[in-house]
């Protein structure tokens, strides 16, 4: 039998929700405060477009190839390009080593990511081709699907793919009885609800919505508004990342 004295996966310096009696969140944030965010565009040599994103302790790489020739004829669409996505977690990205390769969770996230980005891309400009998005989570700390979508949209822009808007993604939820923005890993695990969304900030169109947990309808509305607010903040950073790449 193995006894573990302190578990690394709970997070070292984040404390526990149970002991936190103050108003602030375990990591000291306000209820509507996002974790520190950093985005960089054009970080890979071979990919047509790429981006690196850090939010809190999440570290995510996204790469785009395409539009390129599609060799699988049955997937081909005569009037538009198809958008494919592969979300993958590095074995060392989480507390206990993750076995390499896709699992049910990553397959679902891959599908949702493609669907979240799909409405933003002018796919009809490239019939019979494919645009491939690869997301690699190098470190996970709650909110990797949103981080992946936000990074992928920057990578799409970096690849020169025409879009209606850059999609930004952020979660909100409820933890320790409060509705909060951008849940950390502890808040996600120990909290009551999680609502990740993705949106096109200019029009306000929401392209991804998931929810798990338990919320009243007014709490849900609050959470949705906080997530939307978060998306707008991320959107500004996405624009900066692209402009920084060209020294503007």
């Amino acid at each position: 039998m193995i006894i573990i004295l302190t578990s690394k996966s709970i997070g070292e310096n984040k404390g526990s929700l149970i002991t936190s009696g103050t108003k602030k969140r375990p990591d000291g944030r306000a209820f509507d405060e996002m974790r520190p965010l950093k985005i960089e565009a054009g970080v890979l040599e071979r990919a047509d477009g790429s981006a690196y994103l850090e939010i809190g302790d999440n570290k995510v790489l996204a790469a785009v190839y395409g539009p390129r020739e599609l060799h699988v004829r049955r997937l081909l669409k005569p009037n538009m390009a198809i958008l494919r996505c592969r979300y993958n977690m590095a074995p060392f990205s989480v507390g206990d080593r993750k076995r390499p390769g896709p699992d049910r969770r990553s397959v679902e996230i891959s599908k949702l990511t493609a669907e979240a980005l799909n409405p933003s891309v002018f796919l009809e400009k490239f019939p019979r081709s494919t645009i491939d998005i690869f997301i690699e989570v190098l470190q996970a700390e709650g909110g990797t699907r949103c981080a992946g979508i936000s990074a992928a949209s920057v990578a799409l822009a970096d690849a020169g793919i025409p879009m209606r808007d850059m999609v930004a993604a952020c979660a909100a939820g409820k933890s320790d009885g409060k509705v909060i923005m951008d849940l950390s890993e502890v808040e996600d695990k120990e909290g009551e609800a999680d609502v990740p969304i993705a949106m096109m900030p200019r029009t306000g169109d929401i392209t991804l919505l998931q929810m798990d947990g338990h919320l009243t309808s007014s709490e849900f509305e609050q959470a949705l508004d906080l997530a939307i607010k978060g998306c707008k903040t991320i959107s500004e950073e996405q624009k900066k990342a692209i402009k920084n790449r060209y020294g503007d």
């Binding site: 039998m1 193995i2 006894i3 573990i4 004295l5 302190t6 578990s7 690394k8 890979l44 040599e45 071979r46 990919a47 790429s50 302790d57 570290k59 790489l61 996204a62 790469a63 190839y65 390129r68 592969r86 993958n88 590095a90 074995p91 060392f92 990205s93 989480v94 507390g95 206990d96 080593r97 390499p100 390769g101 491939d132 690869f134 690699e136 190098l138 470190q139 996970a140 700390e141």
Partner: protein, 266 residues
């Protein structure tokens, strides 16, 4: 992985240049590209490194786990090396389980690290015959620009040197793991690998992507600090002569000394 077709004139120009002891990127035949190495870049991994040779980029992470030893080596720990040639790294890398190229990379890296005796595996035994540390070493290839072997070994060694595992004590039949008290892995050697490509009649160090595409044969040599050899791998379907191999060993012994300077000071 789909094989990419190299344009005939690229092949010619690379070969012609090397014949005149020149390279497309202006390097000398025995010169590495720019190397950068960062360690401790991830805090969920117990050890990590990001290595770049030219634009080739690998992220390496280690994860220790307590497990059972192999029956034939009951008193030593276990090192498991794995690599993923990610589809983001090159247009012709495809998603899916590791292909033969990825498996070769992991196995060659593993041999260099293992036979180079990087880790004192005996010190990783917790309860002899029952419980040992298993170190998972995962290489994530994110950008492919030629010469994966040297980057893989350099990154792996750096990640292992960066790795800290929890200390353990035994109380009766139980292993008590203390994550508050992390101790460095018992690293005792620093072997590195140098890869040479045979192109025409010449041997060139650290093949670039173009050179990797057109090379006739490749030889990778793992060298320990004292200059002794711990792993070798020939690749490509053109044979090498005895002289070429011995020549390559000499070059690798010199070049790995240079490469070792990019490792963080212990």
């Amino acid at each position: 992985m789909v094989q990419s077709i190299v344009p005939e004139i690229i092949k010619e120009s690379v070969v012609n240049l090397i014949q005149n002891k020149e390279r497309a990127d202006g390097r000398a035949l025995d010169q590495y590209r720019e190397i950068s190495l960062e360690t401790g870049i991830l805090n969920k991994a117990e050890g990590s490194a990001r290595v770049k040779i030219g634009k080739t980029q690998i992220v390496v992470g280690t994860k220790p786990q307590i497990g059972e030893p192999f029956p034939d080596t009951p008193n030593v720990g276990v090192l498991i090396t794995n690599s993923e040639l990610l589809p983001m790294a090159a247009p012709n890398f495809e998603p899916g389980p590791p292909d033969e190229r990825s498996v070769e990379l992991a196995r060659v890296t593993d041999r260099c690290i293992r036979e180079g005796q990087v880790i004192d595996l005996e010190k990783l035994a917790i309860i002899p015959g029952k419980k040992v540390w298993m170190i998972f070493l995962d290489m994530h290839i994110v950008d492919y620009d030629g010469n994966l072997f040297d980057a893989a070994v350099l990154g792996s060694l750096a990640a292992l040197m960066n790795t800290k595992i929890p200390s353990t004590t035994i109380e009766g039949d139980e292993v008590v793991v203390d994550h508050e008290k992390m101790v460095p892995l018992p690293v005792k050697e620093q072997p590195l690998m140098c890869t040479l490509a045979k192109i025409g009649k010449e041997l060139v160090v650290d093949p670039s992507l173009e050179e990797d595409d057109v090379l006739d044969a490749r030889i990778s040599i793992g060298v320990r600090v004292d200059g002794s050899i711990c792993a070798m791998q020939k690749g490509g379907s053109v044979p090498l002569t005895r002289e070429e191999i011995l020549n390559a060993v000499g070059i690798a012994q010199e070049k790995t000394k240079e490469l070792r300077k990019s490792l963080p000071k212990a």
